[in-house]
């Protein structure tokens, strides 16, 4: 590889990037937009579920139960109603996702030895929220029941009773279980995968289309010089994106970055080299900008989104699909990013992922060079 020729290619590619508003848009504006869009929209938290309440009992006891619900951060009282019709209406119009109905005889029944019925209705069209809301409601009700029992026992026996089991749950690394804390690092990986492959998918195909590739083949420039020369400016562009994304995570989404920033950027460089070579390979094979850009999106977006462990845990997938996830580079990058971001761990733990990511990069770079050589025959 000749450095002079490599530099000439890299310089020329820089000029292309600077002169082409489209590539600048794809590389800077698009990832920022995606991060904003997904960062805000893609929340898996169920927070402050709007709830309507039909308090038929209207007693101190019923009001106590209501305050247990509205006092938690999982529910907010949307309005008080007095018929099933109104409940139906508010759920139909999505003003409320849940309804709590306390029967007239609530206060009398409570503590009478028989279980006291309380009805909770949730909007099942949003299954995820419904499940979570049901879970929260059960916990709220359980704690309230427990307190009533304990109080009762104390009144009867005059002694303080404690609950035999006291599970103290701690969610490490993300104590508030905020989904943004694991979504943002994963999102950075998915977005970078798509953007980087998309960007480079255009470069070689463009040269085939304009005929400059044929000119280049007649010169002494070699495949690796061309591919590496083209990669260099794009990797810097990609790192700029990662920097912007990290800054947005820090100042906009307040995701804690606990680990080593240098390690994060080193791994990002390795990841970008691999995904950009993948885009380049698509470009080499398809020879058309249109086909290449579409292929780049298809090949990167869905697999990175679905099979990387970004949203769906890999351990829950069927075994065959689990094997398939090893082919998705975003999988390693997401593990690395989450590890560095939330756990603050380094290579001592993440060595395997780092090695696999490097391996992926090396294989794709070699494959891109091989494909390029084959295309010339």
């Amino acid at each position: 590889m000749n450095l002079r020729r490599l530099a000439a290619v890299a310089k020329k590619e820089c000029l292309h990037i600077l002169r082409d508003p489209r590539s600048l848009y794809i590389s800077i504006a698009l990832p920022m937009m995606l991060l904003l869009l997904y960062g805000y929209a893609l929340t898996l938290d169920v927070d402050r579920v709007p709830m309507v309440i039909w308090d038929q009992s209207e007693t101190t006891e019923s009001r106590e139960l209501i305050s247990r619900f509205t006092g938690s951060r999982y529910f907010t009282a949307q309005s008080f109603v007095s018929s099933y019709k109104e409940i139906e209406h508010s759920i139909d119009t999505r003003q409320a996702l849940a309804a709590l109905i306390i029967p007239t005889e609530f206060a009398q029944l409570l503590g009478g030895g028989e279980p006291t019925p309380v009805q909770l209705i949730v909007d099942g069209t949003d299954a995820n929220t419904a499940t979570l809301a049901l879970g929260y409601a059960q916990v709220v009700a359980l704690i309230y029941s427990q307190e009533i029992i304990l109080q009762k026992v104390r009144q009867l026996r005059g002694q303080v009773l404690t609950v035999p089991l006291d599970v103290r749950a701690r969610a490490w690394f993300n104590p508030d279980l905020e989904s943004k804390n694991y979504i943002i690092p994963g999102l950075i990986a998915v977005i970078m995968m798509v953007i980087s492959a998309l960007l480079t998918s255009l470069t070689v195909a463009r040269e085939w289309e304009t005929g400059t590739m044929e000119q280049l083949i007649s010169t002494p420039v070699k495949g690796p010089e061309l591919i590496t020369g083209k990669l260099i400016p794009y990797i810097f562009l990609g790192l700029l994106d990662v920097l912007l994304a990290v800054l947005m995570g820090e100042y906009l989404f307040h995701v804690p970055l606990r680990g080593n920033v240098a390690l994060l950027f080193t791994m990002a460089t390795v990841f970008l080299a691999g995904s950009m070579s993948l885009g380049m390979m698509i470009s080499i094979v398809t020879k058309s900008q249109m086909v290449a850009s579409q292929a780049a999106i298809v090949v990167t977006f869905l697999p990175s989104f679905l099979l990387s462990g970004f949203i769906f845990a890999i351990s829950n997938m069927p075994t065959v699909i689990q094997w398939g996830t090893y082919l998705i580079p975003a999988r390693y990058f997401i593990t690395l990013l989450k590890g560095i971001y939330l756990k603050g761990i380094g290579l001592e733990v993440l060595a395997l992922e780092a090695v696999l990511l490097v391996l992926f990069g090396v294989i794709v770079v070699l494959l891109a060079n091989y494909k390029f050589k084959r295309k010339l025959v």
Binding site: A7, K12, R19, I217, P220
Partner: protein, 324 residues
């Protein structure tokens, strides 16, 4: 015929062939190009001109046959050949979003031109292309002629000894075409060998020697004069008349006429004997009430030579097919 001293040969090919998925694009062609000459490769689109030039430039590996460019083997020394040649493809492949100077700088980098020669070469290219006032202009905004000369300049930056031009004047205005050929003559005056493909017959007349390719086969080889003498034993009569299409149909049926082709709004009739044919054409046109304005013997153009060669080729293939 093959007595030429190998030291004076810039390009030589022997039984060179190229096949794409069973389709033969170039079929066992043989020729030599002497140093410092302009060798024209003439033929219709799809005849195998570009495929041949691309094999010689190391862009495309040949399927079979031998070839030498600047004394180097086209199979095994493709990389070395690239230093000796300049290539200009049909599209004047420049980077349109780069300026004139940036394009030159890029190719200088690719050819690793030394810093001290770089400035001299760059000025030479800019002056040659007449782009002194457009150094900083994006290539996109330049006219066809300027782009063509800049592409030529970029292909000459490393001072190659052989220049390959693939249809260099397509899409360029006539004045720029003329200027371009002046440049080509200037280059050959300095000892550069020029291998040029074209389908413009008038341009073929500018070449020192010609190879005519049709359907992948080399059908004729020689100087323009030789070709006219050797392959046009018949006479060409130019017929100017009204209703040329109708006239062509009736003249075609005459026994005294071998073939008729339409050239613009004239007809060219290839005839074995001028006097008999002259009378026959006059007669048949007046019988059909077609007004004849002019009928005279002309010296055959290369196009006539080419058409008659292709006709002969077609007949040979047809009878060959029947015999087998």
């Amino acid at each position: 015929m093959h007595s030429s001293n190998p030291r004076n040969i810039a390009v030589s090919v022997h039984n060179l062939s190229k096949q794409f998925d069973g389709f033969t694009a170039v079929d066992r062609i043989n020729f030599e190009v002497k140093k410092g000459e302009i060798f024209g490769f003439l033929g219709p689109n799809g005849a195998g001109k570009s495929t041949t030039i691309r094999m010689l430039c190391g862009i495309l590996p040949p399927t079979s046959g031998e070839g030498k460019v600047a004394g180097l083997d086209i199979h095994t020394q493709r990389e070395q050949i690239k230093w000796q040649i300049g290539y200009m493809s049909q599209k004047f492949s420049l980077y349109e979003d780069l300026t004139v100077e940036e394009n030159i700088n890029f190719y200088s980098g690719i050819y690793q031109i030394e810093e001290d020669t770089l400035r001299r070469r760059k000025e030479w290219v800019i002056e040659m292309a007449g782009l002194q006032r457009h150094r900083g202009s994006l290539t996109r905004v330049l006219s066809g002629g300027w782009r063509q000369r800049l592409a030529l300049g970029c292909a000459l930056l490393h001072e190659p000894s052989i220049l390959f031009l693939d249809e260099p004047t397509s899409g360029v205005d006539p004045i720029s075409r003329r200027q371009f050929w002046d440049l080509i003559y200037e280059l050959t005056g300095r000892g550069v060998t020029v291998f040029v493909t074209t389908h413009y017959m008038d341009e073929a007349e500018y070449c020192d020697r010609l190879g005519m390719i049709y359907d992948g086969k080399l059908v004729a080889l020689g100087t323009p004069e030789e070709l006219k003498k050797e392959f046009m034993k018949e006479t060409v009569l130019e017929v100017s008349c009204e209703q040329p299409m109708k006239a062509m149909a009736v003249i075609q049926n005459l026994a005294a006429v071998k073939e008729v082709t339409l050239f613009g709004n004239h007809l060219h009739a290839v005839v074995p004997d001028a006097r008999t044919a002259h009378k026959a054409i006059q007669l048949v046109l007046s019988e059909n009430a077609i007004k004849l304005s002019r009928l005279e013997k002309i010296s055959p153009a290369l196009e006539d030579v080419f058409v008659s060669l292709i006709e002969a080729q077609g007949k040979a293939t047809a009878t060959g097919g029947e015999g087998a």
